[in-house]
């Protein structure tokens, strides 16, 4: 919208071509989907304070399920969890220019906090709320 009407008209043929390219690439990607890697998902990862040998000063919890996000963000994005609208645009541009533009990233979309109770150097006790420590949901950005 920043360009004038004239400019848009003169460049009309180029976007049409690239959209066709993208559509073809997307079709090919969809056909190959069964061979692609697993989609963007939440995976289990437990941070164990006990295994770290910290139970002498961390009173609670023993550890926490932090989770992490892993997987491919490829067409059709709707089949994956929580893809943003812009992730579809990002995928299209990636198809057009795969060498320079990356695919959307599989990353946390919802994060939750935990509380940790521990002793400090002086045997005082600290209860602290930590934000954004646990992945609730993953998605393509």
């Amino acid at each position: 919208s920043a360009h004038g009407q004239k400019g848009r008209q003169s460049n009309r043929s180029k976007p049409q071509r690239t959209a066709q390219d993208a559509a073809k690439a997307a079709e090919a990607a969809t056909n190959n989907l069964k061979f692609s890697k697993e989609g963007c998902k939440k995976h289990e990862l437990y941070v164990s304070f006990r295994d770290l040998g910290w139970q002498d000063w961390i009173i609670a919890p023993e550890g926490y399920a932090a989770f992490y996000c892993e997987g491919e963000c490829a067409f059709p994005l709707n089949s994956y969890m929580n893809a943003t609208n812009h992730a579809i645009v990002q995928t299209l541009v990636h198809f057009i220019n795969p060498g320079t533009v990356p695919k959307p990233c599989c990353a946390p979309t919802q994060l939750h906090g935990i509380s940790v109770l521990y002793f400090d150097d002086s045997s005082n006790v600290i209860l602290k709320k930590y934000r954004n420590m646990v992945v609730r949901a993953c998605g393509c950005h």
Binding site: L52, W57, P61, E70, F119, S123, N124, V125
Partner: protein
């Protein structure tokens, strides 16, 4: 395919970390917790009143989920003095980002030998993290049931802030809070120390401690211990402590590593 899936996932975490990697990971997790290093190993007693009270707060925060403390802490919770956490604490907790308990630094048993009608207390609140604002502070002392007094006898328990301490003059005191209790009463007495804790946080040099004074119904000073107040180190689950609730002042950034 569940088994293939599990295999793929486990391949990520099955590699054992080398010694240096392990130390690096530990350092990163400490950094996430905002700690420069592991707290020094001390002979810590998790059965003391403060850790048990704080575990109670922790379980309130983590409500809904099964408490993840160790079994001995659960046992400690069952043994704890009743009604340690009040509904007011829960309100403070909702508003707080951090809660800290502080132990009394004065040897209470020694203190009462020399000044049997006065209980001196001192809490080092200079350890309050930077950028945190005090939203509430409570001084908590346990009162036991005492059989030696008539059940309808009452005591007035007063908490004073020490304003000035000079060897050649009288101690200048400021009354912070007071409570009338029955001789038969048993449980935690809670005194509001919010303003004083804020002052001590901003001006640590003005932290000259507290005086706890007990008077009977005739206005006569009494030994706090004889009125049933638990002033010594035992029993551990009834030890005096200060609990302070904080809220982060603005956005908090982790320091660069």
């Amino acid at each position: 395919n569940v088994s293939v899936d599990a295999e793929a996932r486990s391949s990520f975490i099955q590699r054992r970390l080398r010694g240096q990697e392990r130390r690096d990971i530990q350092r990163e997790i400490l950094s996430i917790l905002g700690l420069p290093h592991r707290p020094r190993p001390l002979a810590r007693t998790k059965r003391n009143a403060a850790p048990v009270f704080m575990l109670d707060l922790y379980n309130t925060v983590s409500a809904g989920a099964e408490p993840r403390g160790y079994s001995d802490y659960k046992a400690a919770l069952e043994r704890r003095a009743p009604a340690a956490v009040t509904p007011q604490d829960n309100r403070f907790l909702d508003d707080a980002d951090t809660v800290m308990s502080f132990v009394n630094l004065i040897d209470q048993d020694q203190e009462l030998l020399f000044q049997p009608l006065l209980q001196e207390l001192r809490f080092d609140v200079s350890r309050i993290p930077e950028g945190e604002v005090v939203t509430a502070a409570e001084f908590r002392i346990y009162k036991d049931f005492i059989q030696e007094h008539a059940q309808n006898e009452t005591f007035r328990v007063s908490v004073y802030q020490v304003l000035q301490e000079a060897p050649d003059s009288e101690v200048e005191l400021l009354l912070l809070d007071q409570r009338d209790v029955w001789a038969s009463e048993e449980g935690w007495l809670v005194f509001d120390l919010t303003a004083t804790s804020t002052l001590w946080q901003l001006r640590p040099e003005q932290n000259l401690g507290l005086h706890l004074i007990v008077e009977d119904s005739r206005g006569q000073r009494r030994n706090p211990r004889l009125a049933g107040l638990v002033t010594g180190g035992e029993p551990k689950e009834k030890q005096t402590f200060l609990v302070v609730f904080f809220k982060a002042n603005g956005v908090r950034f982790r320091s660069a590593r």
